[in-house]
Amino acid sequence: MSDPLSAAATARDIAVCVQRGEASACEVVEAALTRIATLDGRVHAFTQVAHDRALRRAEAVDRAVRGGHSPGPLAGVPFGVKAMIDVRGIVTTAGSALHLADAPASADAEVVRRLEAAGAICVGALNMDEFGMGGTTESSCHGATRNPHDLARTPGGSSGGSAAAVAAGMVPLALGGDALGSIRLPASLCGVYGLRPTRGSVSNEGVLGAGGTIATVGPLARNVRDIAASHAVLTGGADRAPVAGILRQVAIAAGYFDDNLGIDAAAAVDLVRRALDTQRMVEFPDAARAKAAAILVNASETATIHLADLRARPQRFHPGTRDRFLAHALMPAQWYLHAQRYRAWHKQRVLQLFADVDVVVMPATPCVAPLLGQSTLVVRGEEWPTGPMLGWFTQPLAGTDCPSLAVPIARAGRPPIGIQLLAAPNREEMLFDVATRLESLGVAAAPVATLP
């Protein structure tokens, strides 16, 4: 069992120790706050740290334990939330100067209420690309977040702060948001697990800018058990411990997902294929067109959310975000409507694949984290714009509502990279079982980053 006060502590170990009275929630939270104070000056994962709020809640957890009551399955677990998620007493900025002067949130988002009802303790808000419009966490009004494994590199985005905080061991658990890859992409680049749950299974209430049919909130952590436990709390489902020994039907994604992989991404997928001893390949229909449809749907829906501000105070947006939103707002309705109809058709074709396959393995990112400020990257000798290329493998199936888990591949001494596991909607247990098997084989691992 990990030391509950250490950076390497798992959420489950913390909860067990707190419930047993072996450590107090106050001690655990104070240790996390100390790590944040020590490390975050270099990483810049947090936009706001809620010291007083966190310690008050920790005291409440400790009172419950002393009174013989169970605070819940995540007792004393410190967590952070992407800066678009409401936390009572914290200003919800979503990485935008538009909201810096807003009043603090008057209520917690549903996802925060659920985690805290399970005994977890929110310690603050985590950096993100402005309104989720980015893949590197560099467009935030709060400044860029750095990758804890290499401070010169991006953590990915848009949930870069969430991934970085977990990777650096500041907190064992964080919440991010994912429309076209914003949990999975930074999870891959920071070497942590990141779950995009079945769309619609996790509440978006109290999440700024989350209206729409693509995006969902999900957890990031450094082991599968913590992902599964937090997923159960967020969805109200049963907390079933994943089983490494259950034989799941696994296939490797071919076609679109077998192209444009850099050396590290290809090696990661091959390592998983050999570890799971699977030769089966599947090809998703029309992946490029599905990606286009998902982008169009998300573009139109996100622009609608910000239309009033685009009219009233466009100069307050990050210029790149603003100009994208303006273009999105001008899209003809028929593009959006046809994209949604195509999406519905495509989803049914994808679900047919899961008739005799449980989990599909595919790359998460085409390469390891690029440098901060790097506008292009080279994959297989070809130069691409950084943002679109980083999301190459996370975007195509975003419109299918399928859950996907980014799994970090063990790569001691080398920059992190992950793979994705995809399952049919509401079959997250399949993802957890396969990921747990990879963990047990030593193929998947998320060690705490060692900062210089």
Partner: protein
């Protein structure tokens, strides 16, 4: 893939209808973003989906 889509003219014509003001310094970037979207839209619009399929996430089958 070449396109006859005049993004600048489109922006100039449609923005007022949306009560949006496109500042001079944004016009080119907005047009470039629209051109990228138009390429994506051509990919999607070129595929005929059966008339019975309604817009949505596919839950209706």
């Amino acid at each position: 893939m070449t396109s006859k889509f005049d993004a600048h003219a489109y922006v100039d014509a449609v923005a007022p209808a949306m009560s949006l003001t496109i500042a001079a310094e944004s016009r080119d970037a907005v047009a470039e973003n629209l051109k990228r979207l138009e390429l994506l839209a051509r990919q999607v619009m070129s595929y005929e989906v059966a008339a019975s399929v309604a817009p949505g996430s596919g839950d209706e089958g």
